[in-house]
């Protein structure tokens, strides 16, 4: 059977500075990060013949043709899965490259400055939010923190998961961010800080919620053969998959609201890559909320359903622990670049370029995406 395993590599990664706001437009930021990734791959923009922009970003493949003068764009696609989009785009890019449709696919994502009021309006207009918009927004369920709070509360009630365990995820990301000069939040966070942060949507405190950021990141996917010519140690995509939960557009109607789409994708990605959980040296896990990290760890099979709270405790997910998670600080403390920054970090870890926060001898790692109420994506990479 045809397999995508080890057909492609991430040859280039790039990003802009990250901050709360930027004077640059979303398009400018996206192009800046793209250029950095293309340069990092040892390519020029003219080499790019495939583009996957961020589906929720309002930027289209044509923008890259126009600005980079791409001579022969042969492949373009969108993967509209919210924060699961970038890793799902790796699957699309890999399919395009492995089948010879394109040679070098650019996956790019930028977020411009955004004001709080616009977020709920923008959400309400997204087609994948239609059911929520029709039936839940009128009663006051308007934003992701509120959608996911119902999942987190049920998990706590069923399994005894605590806010202190959610705090472990936030504090771990913060500790890692202190070793990352690009990170927006580098001030130490204690358990008391987490518990004292204001309640947003119970059980989610402010420090359970990700940052809002402006910035961009991008990666280039090339065939393994072409990757041999790239200036960096190739990082191969061993396994990649996307998965969707039951009742994907309404958490309220989901038979098991503690199970995410990644539960379907993870076994596929692990099998494709031919790795076991114990082989994973580092994991960059989509962290729009602390609870979502804990739930994905369970759904990927690192522990049984309900044991995520124990799993993230006692330093297991810290650098030096059994499974270092979000070594860059994640969306919680580095920046919210919708998980494209997680892909960039995994590639740098597997190249061995992470300096103080480098996971020693990292050979195999994974990156996940999560978005649009439960969609999931996962890529297992190795050097």
């Amino acid at each position: 059977m045809f397999s995508l395993a080890d057909k492609t590599a991430v040859t280039g990664v790039g990003e802009t500075a990250y901050g709360r706001e930027s004077r640059k437009s979303q398009l400018t930021l996206t192009l800046e990060a793209s250029l950095a990734a293309i340069n990092d791959a040892g390519l020029t923009p003219k080499d790019i013949d495939g583009v996957i922009p961020y589906a929720a970003g309002g930027i289209v493949a044509e923008d890259f043709v126009t600005n980079f003068g791409l001579p022969d764009l042969r492949y373009s696609a969108l993967t509209p899965m919210g924060g699961a989009s970038p890793v799902a785009a790796l699957q699309s890019a890999t399919m395009a490259v492995a089948t010879g449709v394109a040679n070098h696919v650019l996956v790019a994502l930028g977020r411009g400055s955004i004001s709080g009021g616009r977020i709920t309006q923008r959400l309400a207009e997204m087609p994948q939010m239609r059911l929520v918009s029709e039936f839940e927004m009128p009663i006051g369920t308007n934003a992701p923190a509120q959608f996911y709070a119902h999942m987190a509360r049920r998990h706590m009630e069923l399994f005894g998961t605590t806010s202190e365990q959610l705090a472990e995820v936030a504090m771990t990301c913060r500790r890692h961010a202190q070793m990352n000069e690009r990170a927006m939040m580098r001030k130490p966070m204690t358990l008391a800080d987490h518990q004292a942060s204001r309640m947003i949507a119970d059980p989610l405190h402010l420090f359970d919620c990700c940052l809002e950021s402006a910035g961009a990141a991008a990666v280039v996917i090339s065939s393994v053969e072409r990757a041999k010519d790239s200036p960096h140690r190739p990082v191969l995509i061993g396994g990649v998959a996307e998965g969707h939960p039951d009742s994907p557009s309404a958490i309220t109607q989901r038979p098991d609201m503690t199970r995410l789409g990644i539960a379907r994708a993870a076994p596929i990605a692990f099998a494709m890559a031919g790795v076991e959980h114990s082989d994973i040296d580092v994991a960059e896990i989509y962290d729009c909320f602390t609870y979502i990290v804990l739930c994905q760890l369970e759904d990927m099979g690192f522990c049984a359903k309900g044991e995520g709270g124990d799993f993230v405790s006692n330093g297991r997910i810290s650098l030096g622990g059994e499974l270092p998670v979000n070594t860059h600080g994640g969306l919680l403390s580095e920046a919210h670049i919708a998980g494209m920054n997680h892909i960039v970090e995994l590639v740098r870890q597997l190249r061995g370029d992470c300096g103080e926060r480098q996971v020693k001898d990292a050979e195999v790692g994974l990156v996940t995406g999560f978005g649009d109420l439960g969609d999931g994506s996962i890529a297992v990479m190795h050097r």
Binding site: E134, M137, I139, N142, H150, R153, R154, M199, A201
Partner: protein, 140 residues
């Protein structure tokens, strides 16, 4: 108080479609109506065109009891939509209805302290204005 305090943005309202109109019309008459498949009689919610079991496009509407048990909940402290600014904190419950579907609504009295999975609740009808009634719940 400043004038702006009195003029919060309007809360979001449902957009009516062929599929959801009977549901909202039912609430206005203080009835909970859901779709029933014309092919296999399975109840479904939220409203949609097709039965995922037998693929029948036929359906009618049937009234549910409104009694149910708590599945989960949240207390919203931050007004993500500014229209809800004066109501925070408010409690929203996801409820397993007796007939097997789920419904979300604001909990009357706004006290989450008595909530637990399986806690019995019943549907309330919150009349916003002549045009719109929203579902809510109270403890029983």
């Amino acid at each position: 108080m400043s004038a702006s305090h009195d003029q919060l943005p309007e809360k979001p309202r449902p957009e009516y479609s062929d599929e959801n109109q009977p549901y909202w019309d039912g609430l206005r008459e203080h009835k909970l109506l859901v779709q029933r498949c014309g092919g296999c009689n399975t109840l479904r919610h939220y409203p949609r065109p097709l039965c995922d079991g037998c693929y029948s496009l036929e359906y009618d509407w049937t009234e549910l009891s409104g009694s149910g048990k708590v599945h989960s909940w949240t207390v919203s402290h931050h007004p993500f939509h500014p229209g809800f600014k004066r109501e925070t904190p408010y409690v929203t419950v996801t409820v397993d209805l007796a007939e097997g579907l789920r419904l979300q609504g604001v909990l009357e009295g706004n006290d989450a302290s008595a909530l637990a999975i399986g806690r019995e609740v019943e549907l309330t009808f919150n009349d916003v204005d002549a045009e719109l009634t929203l579902p809510g719940f109270r403890l029983v």
